[in-house]
Symmetry: C2
Subunit: 251 residues, 2 copies
Amino acid sequence: MAPAVISTQALPRRSRSSHTQSAKAIPCLHCPAKAFNVCKPLGYERQKELFETGVQQTWRRRQFLFRMGDPAGPIFKVTSGIVAVSRPLPEGRRQISLFILPGEVCGYLEINGNYAFDGEAITEARTCSFSRRKFHAFVASNRDVDDAVKTALGERLQQVGRQQAVLGQLTSTGRVASFLLTLVNDYNAHGIQTRPLWLPMSRADIADYLGLRIETISRAFAKLKNRKVLEIDNEAVVIHDLKHLAELAEF
Amino acid sequence: MAPAVISTQALPRRSRSSHTQSAKAIPCLHCPAKAFNVCKPLGYERQKELFETGVQQTWRRRQFLFRMGDPAGPIFKVTSGIVAVSRPLPEGRRQISLFILPGEVCGYLEINGNYAFDGEAITEARTCSFSRRKFHAFVASNRDVDDAVKTALGERLQQVGRQQAVLGQLTSTGRVASFLLTLVNDYNAHGIQTRPLWLPMSRADIADYLGLRIETISRAFAKLKNRKVLEIDNEAVVIHDLKHLAELAEF
DNA sequence: CGTTGGGTTGAGCTTGTTCAACCACCGTGG
DNA sequence: CCACGGTGGTTGAACAAGCTCAACCCAACG
């Protein structure tokens, strides 16, 4: 029920055994998420300090990192995989707010000491899971990190604000087109290849994100395939006509 | 085009003339917005300091405080009236993200030095308009204010996250019901009476907020009136059956 | 007194949902 | 090795919800 630590990386142990501040002590230096969010402004010393306020965890597909309403535990920085931040609804339904890509943080928001959203691994995922107390303390004593936190909050707000327009104004095909384009943008910003475009989320995930039924998602993809806008092979999408896709996603 | 200062309050002038730190120097002490957002943690001295980083402005109905894409100017704390934060769409349409009540801040978010949203006065409104540079400096040197900013960002994020679910999952009547309940909650939180409920926004505003057409809004209200859930008189709504309304707004 | 803007109401159409059948894939157990 | 059930995805037909277009109402205002 509570998120279990599936595997704690070996590297932190090595760092402890070598109790010197050797550059090899923390895995962050080679972490693909290093360049994003709160880790971005950090040099070695402070990166190490932050690293040691948490543990590394891995998560299976469909495993929950945190659940809305549960006492607010760790803050998660995703280092690999994709996490869906969502609001649970009656009868097993949910509204996915946004997808968290490697480098970004989730589980930050709390309401009266409880997580404000669900966080669910869409793929196998790894996280640095920081003690909330220590994380806040670290942020409080590092101006640039604090700025990074505010920047990240602002970016989420913009993302979600845009998504509101998608939900409020676009037709089903438009929403799917917009979803794909957003993914392409976000993947680009996070150094993930987009040809082919990795699409690990199920039809149900996409439906819960776009406020549609899975059948409608399926039909939208069928339409896009028929019009030769894209091609789908399992979890890989190849976009042939980006321009056309962009037109469909226009308001 | 640029938001014009309609009237600069007389009070700041008085405070300047009396160059002592008399408690009458700033109007904040009697400001209804004092207890909210960034002003909340401030005592007299710091409140005065913040106050002096900006000017007071008043806005007419339908006037824009700021426009998405324009160079990011002041940050606005609304002291009276209601402001709609929205994203403009082609052909004069828009998606309203949220309504800003007295006490809250808008115009904070920027993207590459430009405002990230539109801000439009729904009613006559007054604001404290702070120089962005000075505001950031003030926040940077006041830990508790900085926390207030992050808290406010988090609250917006939750608000908008919830609204995503409304747009994605609810039927038209449900959306209208949810809108009214949200308004009641927010009014309560901001010390505004809710019997009757002041409804200054036009059908078009509500439609742009809920992702519906004005005709649909009209029909939803008609349905609620027929079912004796509420009563409407011009800009005043009296809710008779809050429970029923809550059921309609359920997911 | 005509015009204008905001709101309501009706009729027909479009879009997405619902419900159902069906398919491909995959792991399990007989 | 094949039969089986489970999961995720696709497709079809009927239905319902919201949109479009149009007419109409009312109050405010010049």
